[in-house]
């Protein structure tokens, strides 16, 4: 197997993990709305996942860069920029005091990310298969 195949196998797994975090975020938000969890616990729980999520995505982008996968970089660049901006301006953390006011925005963001990761997942899967077939031939 060549490097490209390995890269996309990893990308598929990473995309799956990112999908799971998005779903986890969405589920947590609806838990908050239905009062299964209080905002303090929610924020502590979610804030622990924000940096790993952003980190994984950034790492994936780095791998694409090293593998010269320009299409993948172009696809991921907007989200990467969005995440980096959040880290730089230091507003990546969920604020328990503002959470009910910002909940709508957070939910929207998670849904968009979920859709994006899903799309990426299938694209990486396709690229992985292509790479593997190419490998066999």
């Amino acid at each position: 197997m060549n490097g490209e195949a390995w890269l996309f196998i990893f990308a598929v797994l990473a995309a799956a993990a990112l999908i799971f975090t998005s779903v986890f975020f969405i589920v947590s938000y609806s838990d908050l709305e239905t009062d299964y969890i209080n905002p303090i616990d929610l924020c502590n729980r979610l804030n622990a996942f924000v940096i790993p999520e952003h980190g994984l995505h950034a790492f994936l982008c780095l791998l694409f860069l090293l593998g010269f996968q320009w299409t993948c970089i172009v696809i991921n660049a907007p989200l990467l920029a969005f995440n980096v901006n959040k880290i730089i301006t230091n507003n990546w953390a969920h604020d328990a005091t503002e959470i009910f006011r910002t909940l709508g925005g957070h939910k929207k963001e998670s849904f968009i990310k979920l859709a994006f990761y899903l799309m990426c997942f299938f694209y990486y899967l396709y690229r992985m298969i292509v790479a593997l077939i190419k490998d066999d031939v």
């Binding site: 709305e33 009062d35 905002p39 303090i40 328990a96």
Partner: protein, 905 residues
Amino acid sequence: MAEPNQLPPGWEAHWDQTHQRFLYVDRESGQQQWEHPLENQPQLAFAQERQAPVANTKRRQYAVDQAAAYSEPVAQYADSSYPPQNIQQPVTPGYPQTFTPGEPQQQSYYQEQQQQYPAQPAYGAGQLADQFSGLGIGGQKPLALHSVNLLTTPPNPLELLAPPPPIRLPPGASILDSPLANADPSYMRCTVGAIPKTAALRTKSKVPLALVLSPNRSLGATEPPVPVVTDTVIARCRRCRTFINPFVQFVDGGSRWKCCVCNMNNEVPQLFDWDSVNNVQADRWSRPELSNGVVEFIAPTEYMVRPPAPLTYVFLVDVSHSAVQSGMLAAACRTILENLDRIPNEEARTKIAIIGFDVALYFFTLLADATEPSMLVVSDVDDVFLPQPSDILVNLTEARAALEALLAKLPSFFAESQTIGSALGPALQAGFKLISNTGGKMVVLTASLPTLGVGALKAREDVKLLGTPKESTLLQAGDTFYKTFAIECSRATVSVDMFLFATTYQDVASLSCLPHYTSGSTFYYPGFNAARVEDVKTFVHEFGEFLASPVGLEVLTRIRASTGLHRSSFHGNFFLRSTDLLAMSALPQDHSYVIELEIEETINAPYVVFQCSNLYTTAFGERRIRVTTLALPTTSNISEIYASADQVAIAAYLANKAVERTLTHKLEDARDMVTKVVTDLLNAYKETVTSAGGQLAIAHNLQMLPLLALGLLKHVALRPSAQIPSDLRAYAHTLFTTLPVQRLIPYLHPTFYALHNMPPECGTIGEHGVILPPALPLSSEYLERHGLYLMEDGLTIFLWVGRDAVPQLMMDVFDLPAYDALRGGKYTLPLLENAFSQRVNAVIGKIREMRRGVYYPPLYVVKDDGEPSLRMWALSTLIQDRGDQTPSYQQWLGQLRDKIASTGY
């Protein structure tokens, strides 16, 4: 006597489902009547009622009083020998015993009710009479909508003192028709008096929908306390947990009640009709929760997760150089010392600790038998620990002597202090460690910017940022510590209060975060200097009142509303823990909260109910639930929404919304939001109610709204200016979100009096205390060069002296020979041996004490040609004038008219 089991022989009682009352039938004659047969001797019944004000006969009484009130002139009704035939007048079954507001001759009815409900907040008869005569309406007709043209109607300051438009509930909405069934507007009021049935109608009317509530408002000397249900029988809806209230209905012969919020049928608790003290059957209708909109329940043990915590105070006192030099330390210690007796301590459970801080922390051990306090210094502020597990937090009664000795000596310990710097964050952590297991109050008194340890802040105010879009960043917390620590405090039910004294930048925006999320209060005394008597007086009064106020602890507040109404946003000092649950570490007196409402689905019910319940521990260690209920009719008629709109509540909503907008967006956006709300409202009114061109019409009861909005835009909190320090802005924001409307309105729309030519009765004691002069419109065209004027916004009083003031006036008021001898600035007015001086002093005294809250406004004497900055400040209270970058009232109306015209309607 309304009990069916006490019937004379031959009579039967039948529960009538439709009318929610008993129908009495005489088996022999077949006669049916609604009144209890034993009460057909009206004179006897009346005499009994007179003797026992809280008689068990309320249910009957209404019919009697009302029949009399309708047919009898007032004077005759007051006469004890009024003819019985009037009372025997039958009350027809189809006409339920309704409370009909607006009938002028019913004054006596209100008075009667007031006497019979001694344990009630005042719902003054005179006030109601004024209200109705002022509106000129009567009967049960819908509220009449009177339009006024703003362009030709000068604003009338008296309009702001009028009560909100009366609430017209459908007949029979409340089971007892008590005039107190609805909470007084000072407890809870809504921006509209009739809730639109659909969201579309609300959007079309453009009237904001919000509740303004102040559940723990202070009671005046003449106001009776809130009635308390002592038997711990608490009827609540099984589904929505609403407390039983005057707007429920009894069904199934009175054995079940139908919840007015979710329409669920619930069992009436077994002991509901039982008097557990005397072990006898009690009269259900005498239960206060069925006749009062504001009522308190004593909570049984189910409402406690632990025994009620004692009232605990930790005073964190700044002992650095700036605190010592300004005299803050001495003044604070003296005030605590003098008010030790006023701190609520009925059960001798109150606990107190005092911690000093500068760059280190100073703990004081207070042993019960020692009179000499010993000091423990902790200089490691990075890892805070308590130097000793006990004797730092002590019982006020037991360690009284040691406490007094400490407070007397504390200023002298640090008199020579040259230390600059403040480890406020570590001090807060130490205080938190001390009381985190019981909760309580931490009172911070500081005169410096925190510079050490966690929560250290930078002097981030940059004059270049002021007046730019980036200004709002200065109004947000500068360090995340102030939010995360606030949440920790909220969890442990610790409440933080801030008393800030700095002469330089202190970052009020960050520091006020702690009181904001822990239900505390922020007080700010910029440039405090104990050498000035006026500064000390203001602080000592406010701090003393603050210590003496009966505070609630461990508070959970929930706001419930009828199906279809969603509580979308909350403003005030608390931590929002769930979609409608407010966690408050304390329930301070006279704090106000604003709750925005949204109509989620079409409301079909004829009326809706809002209920605020505060579960709290009283200062004397009792767990109580205060339930405030407000019922409002619903309407599908847009003119009824306008006719019942409450401009004062809308202004409170706008102020809170503007603060939120400033913090999440920019000051500019907040101003635009205020303008947009007013423009949209005027526009919608023009579209739906009037179509006459060339005028700016608004409902009579909303005519002050544009001026209030202008006052908001010109307020130091929102005004566009590059000169306003961010500390002042941040403090104004905290006041916007906490002041009760009674104080918030003058804060937005100050009051302006002419004193030199006030009518002779002003300043003398009248029927309702000192008579105030008539308020003038807020325009400098009323300022005459020889006059003496007073402007006040509830937090500051300005005494404006015209440059041509006659020597006699100067002599009478200031005891000075001439205008030139007068010095401007903070001033204590002498009380002289002449009538005019006494009247002026009486007016000022009245202004200082007439509103709720602990504030004691300082008095500034402003000379017509005096110091420009002070002069500008005083003139900024005259909001109808043109400001630096703000329009005059006429210009503002012109702008609004042009905006409406340009939108193409």
